[in-house]
Amino acid sequence: MNAIWEAARGALGLIASGDPTLGAIVLLSLEVSLSAVVFATLLGLPLGAAIAVGRFPGRRAVVVLLNALMGLPPVVVGLFVYLLLSRAGPLGSFGILFTPPAMVIAQTILILPIIAALCRQAVEDAWIEYEEQLRSLGARAGGAALTLVWDIRFSLLTAVLAGLGRASAEVGAVMIVGGNIDGVTRVMTTTIALETSKGDLPLALSLGLVLIALVVALNAAAHLVKDAALRRYG
């Protein structure tokens, strides 16, 4: 019990002192995960909406596959991206393995199915309600999909948050493609794993606290936005 208190006191001290190493790690984590969320959202929302309103052969299989990919193991995604980006791999010439861009790519691949699958479900539910009206007004499937995404944009915030939660919490993918290089590719989760094994519990715990606080703050902000929108737009 004593060790926990000691670690906690050390952690709070580190946070309060505005430790620059800690700050850099937090900042890089946010940059990587938020970038991944932006890319996965830009790709995932249109993809999910297209599958929701599209009617094509093999659609059910695509839906099942997409839902299954929500549970992609981060280490497997990391390995896959590693193989692509390693010197001998097809994209090796870019030389971005063990850099933040590689981590963004891995996390984008990891959370794209989450955002797309949740968007697919939400748009499909809305489509049931809107379809007759939109078809009566002469909307085509493609245009209708965009209209739906815009109309339920505040509900889709949940899908984006699920992606953000996954990206900021995972260790395996960023560890493999980033390499956990001090000052270059070290993010909160990889540092926590490393420092815990090294025995530097205050640093590990302080990062854990910051990570949780950030995730709670982002979710609270999104919840407030959604609430306000619901009151405003119905």
Binding site: E129, Y130, E132, Q133, L134, R135, S136, L137, G138, A139, G143, T147, D151, I152, R232, Y233, G234
Partner: protein, 237 residues
């Protein structure tokens, strides 16, 4: 002109149930057509078939306009429960105009005119989904009217509304009728049929049991089912 509409031997089967059964009728421009019948008689499905939202299982629906795109643009439909987008009342109407390829510069003016015609101009910038039920249905009417359709389908537009909102909706429908739009409306409100209709199509179990002027329908129905319906009895009792 997309009217007259000729329907030959129209049948619609869903889930093994025949909902519209070998129905033939001609619908001409001019008189307001009321589709009457008990719940489940096939009123809504018949209107969706006419409007093109459902495809017939067999039989023919022939408008005098052959081009499907032009035919679609000349008709509009208002549903029992209006589906409005999460944007302002004005933007909801403008959205319909955009789908109809009305140039951007004209959309706002036409949308405002349509809102004016249903008495909603003062709520133009309010979010559509927070309007009252009656206001939402009037907005749906404005959205349909903004396109100045030749034919306006109405599927029990007042079924969920209180009497004063119903009166407002009926006033708007009468104004559209007076402006020359052909009204085709499903209802099971007999008073409304009398107030708004010129001719009645009476459906019974998916079949056209009777077709004639409103007055004759109410005073001397030819079929036993229609007579029972007018007396307010359930036809299967």
């Amino acid at each position: 002109m997309i009217l007259p509409l000729r329907i030959e031997n129209l049948t619609y089967v869903a889930g093994g149930r025949t909902i519209v059964d070998r129905l033939s009728v001609a619908i001409e421009a001019g008189p307001s057509t009321i589709i009457l019948g008990a719940n489940g008689a096939g009123k809504s499905v018949l209107m969706r078939l006419m409007h093109g939202l459902l495809a017939p299982s067999s039989g023919e629906i022939a408008w005098s306009e052959r081009d499907p795109e032009r035919r679609r643009r000349r008709q509009a439909m208002v549903f029992q429960r209006p589906v409005l987008l999460r944007r302002s009342a004005l933007a909801n109407v403008a959205y319909a105009l955009k789908l109809a390829r009305v140039p951007r510069a004209e959309r706002e003016r036409l949308a405002a005119e349509a809102l004016e015609s249903v008495g909603l101009m003062h709520l133009a910038h309010r979010p559509a989904r927070v309007l009252s039920g009656g206001e939402q249905q009037r907005l749906a009417l404005a959205r349909a009217w903004a396109l100045h359709p030749e034919v306006l389908f109405l599927d029990e537009p007042t079924a969920n509304l209180d009497p004063s909102a119903t009166r407002e909706i009926e006033r708007v429908i009468q104004a559209f009728d007076a402006a020359g739009t052909k009204i085709i409306m499903a209802t099971h409100n007999l008073g409304q049929a009398r107030r708004l209709g010129d001719e009645v199509l009476f459906l019974h179990q998916g079949r056209l049991a009777e077709h004639g002027p409103v007055d004759r329908f109410f005073s001397q129905s030819a079929s036993a089912e229609a007579a029972a319906f007018v007396r307010g009895e359930l036809p299967w009792n």
